[in-house]
């Protein structure tokens, strides 16, 4: 497909959700306020604000948030005037009660995320979100793990529950451009609703894959300022805007303002550079959920094993999003095996 430039590309910036993995969910109220204000002023369509693992994600398993979802959402109630505030909900972690609280605090868009084979656990949440008048997005995570036909089957279920958009989510940053094209093409062909794409940069393909998705007709894409996000991060919002401008696509975003938002608002607040390091590449290569990265470093250090071995093992076991507790399990197992193997040494 060639880009006609007519269809609007909606960019949902998830710096304050997926990007919270990069700061171990420790965004301050000031971070949330300043970043969301800059995004709003630049004209970003959606601003996602939630713990990295969604509503009620604050836990020992995933890391505790510095502030509750209510505190963060209430903080931006009056400053986000043009953009719509989005929240993420993973059924099994968050509940309809948590969604209701977020709506009471001003959320206008709900993204309901499940593993790519488990769409039916989101039925109640998608229906509730639609009934309450929110723009409702079905988010099929780790979509690289299943064939396009399976992704379609699950997307059709989300459509039948009332979703306005279904996303192909490359949670592991494992897809190659052709993997993206085949999934998006099939969904665009068979769904009545809009299709979206969410990238991770573990193999350095986040912007490229997003462009492939746009070329196949998605109208919703995700990014983070300065490429924040789990693993090696998401597509950089400011680069997406620049590139889409060059392609003649309408994002409704002011390029200079989004560049400033990244450079002057987000970058000084980063606690580490967002790079594609060895282990991030291993995430993409082995197809492992990106938010496992920092937890893997911690467990590898504790049990004195190589983080790459842990990630490759997680990939073999086909663990899904949210199974962070498997990391310690595997690190422990590897350490035991190494003890046995090294038992004869002095």
């Amino acid at each position: 497909m060639t880009i006609t430039g007519k269809e609007k590309i909606h960019i949902v910036d998830t710096t304050l959700r997926d990007g919270s993995h990069s700061v171990k969910h420790r965004f301050t109220i000031d971070d949330v306020l300043q970043v969301s204000t800059a995004l709003n002023d630049a004209g970003v369509y959606g601003i996602e604000i939630t713990h990295g693992d969604g509503l009620a994600g604050s836990s020992i398993q995933y890391g505790f948030s510095l502030h509750s979802e209510e505190e963060k959402l209430n903080a931006v109630k009056f400053s986000v005037t043009k953009s719509r505030v989005a929240v993420l909900l993973l059924p099994g972690i968050g509940t309809k009660v948590d969604l209701q609280k977020a709506i009471d605090c001003g959320a206008k868009m709900a993204r309901i995320a499940t593993h790519v084979t488990e769409a039916d656990i989101a039925e109640q949440h998608i229906k509730m979100s639609k009934e309450l008048g929110l723009e409702t997005v079905g988010f099929l995570m780790l979509a690289h793990m299943e064939k396009p036909e399976k992704v379609l089957e699950q997307a059709l279920m989300m459509e039948s529950y009332g979703a306005d958009v279904v996303y192909v989510v490359d949670s592991a940053g494992a897809m190659l451009p052709d993997d993206v094209r085949r999934r998006v093409l099939l969904l665009k062909d068979k769904l009545q609703i809009a299709v979206g794409f969410h990238a991770h940069n573990n193999l350095g393909l986040a912007v490229g894959n997003t462009l492939a998705a746009v070329e196949e007709g998605v109208s919703f894409i995700d990014g983070c300022l300065c490429g924040l996000g789990a693993g090696a991060g998401n597509a950089q919002t400011e680069i997406l805007v620049a590139v889409l401008n060059r392609m003649g696509c309408d994002t409704g975003i002011d390029l200079y303002k989004i560049l400033d938002a990244a450079e002057e608002v987000m970058r000084p607040r980063m606690i580490k550079p967002q790079v594609i390091d060895r282990a991030s590449i291993a995430l993409g290569y082995a197809g492992v959920y990106s938010s496992f990265l920092l937890h893997t470093y911690k467990a590898a250090e504790k049990y004195k094993v190589d983080p790459l071995d842990v990630l490759i093992e997680l990939g073999k076991l086909r663990v899904v999003g949210g199974q962070e507790d498997m990391i310690v399990d595997i690190a422990f197992d590897l350490a035991q095996k190494e003890k046995v193997a090294g038992g004869g040494k002095p």
Binding site: A56, S59, I60, Q61, P91, G92, I93, T95, K96, V97, H115, T117, E118, D120, I121, E123, Q124, L317, R318, V319, V320, G322, Q323, D325, M326, V328, D329, F332, D333
Partner: protein
């Protein structure tokens, strides 16, 4: 005086059928007299008939009409159990509820059954609670548990439509049980479905924030609890020794099912039906004592 108490199952689905085999195989004090459903063609009813159990497609009415039945296991759905509960109570039949209806108090056989012998309706909470509350309760006996968080991972294949449609109720009920039955001050539950093939067995990570980190006492109380739990769920075991960091204790367990009817990976279903038999047997033995 009979040697066994007559019991019935309503709901011949996967859970009810597994329970049927478990009662036939393991129960000391129960005689499974009747299995009732609402479809005469149901596979569960056929299998029950093959085991020599009387069957009926008259649902709850068949149980109410049988004056010998003293205990009924409800393996239907929450909505149905809410209708069955008052009828069973009126007929003076004790109800052991395997649905999330929670008409009666939450019961975990190794923790609080002794407090509930006299109630007419006992709820078996959730599989996640049956698999984690005993550990939380055990630790709460040696130190205050300020916070308990559990992550239950089960095979996608072992989660039926009931669980999928009421996933919020699973997390909310389990969290409440961590507090009410497990005695943690605050509780949180997370459930994850994993579609890997071959299916994974149920796995539970139990994180506790405790007041007093006495490692030996905590290890000892967990080991004791495991022995009790293994009496009715032999496939329940620790994945690794408990991990202690500061005031945090991490306990990882897995549950392999007995494979009575459901496949052995569905330890999550097995622990529910096993708990049901354990509760039923103890209630039946009390009733037998009374008869004597």
């Amino acid at each position: 005086m009979s040697e066994k108490i007559d019991v019935a199952i309503i709901g011949p689905g996967n859970i009810g059928t597994d329970l049927m085999y478990k009662i036939k195989k393991r129960s000391k004090f129960m005689n499974l007299k009747l299995m009732a459903g609402i479809y005469s063609t149901s596979e569960g009813l056929k299998l029950a008939a093959q085991q020599g159990v009387e069957t009926s497609s008259e649902g709850i009415d068949a149980i109410l009409a049988d004056k010998m039945i003293k205990i009924a296991f409800d393996a239907t759905m929450a909505g149905a159990h809410k209708k069955h509960a008052p009828l069973l109570k009126e007929a003076k039949i004790k109800a052991i509820d395997l649905t999330p209806a929670a008409v009666g108090p939450y019961v975990c056989p190794v923790v609080n059954l002794d407090q509930h012998y006299d109630v007419d309706n006992l709820n078996l909470i959730t599989c996640g609670a049956q698999a984690t509350v005993p550990v939380v309760y055990a630790v709460s006996q040696v130190t205050k548990v300020k916070y308990a968080e559990i992550v239950a991972t089960i095979a996608s294949k072992s989660a039926g439509p009931g669980t999928r449609q009421s996933i919020d109720e699973f997390t909310q009920t389990t969290a409440r049980a961590l507090m009410d039955v497990g005695k943690a001050e605050t509780g949180k539950a997370i459930i994850i479905l994993n579609p890997a093939e071959p299916p994974i067995i149920m796995r539970n990570t139990i994180y506790l924030i405790v007041e007093d980190q006495d490692e030996n006492a905590i290890r000892g109380t967990i080991d004791n609890m495991l022995l009790k739990l293994q009496e009715y769920v032999p496939g329940y075991r620790l994945r690794m020794p408990p991990i202690f960091d500061d005031m945090k204790v991490t306990v990882v367990t897995e549950v392999e099912g007995a494979g009575d009817y459901l496949p052995s990976y569905s330890g999550n279903l097995d622990i529910e039906t096993s708990a049901a038999v354990a509760v039923g047997d103890q209630l039946a033995s009390k009733l037998l004592c009374k008869e004597r």
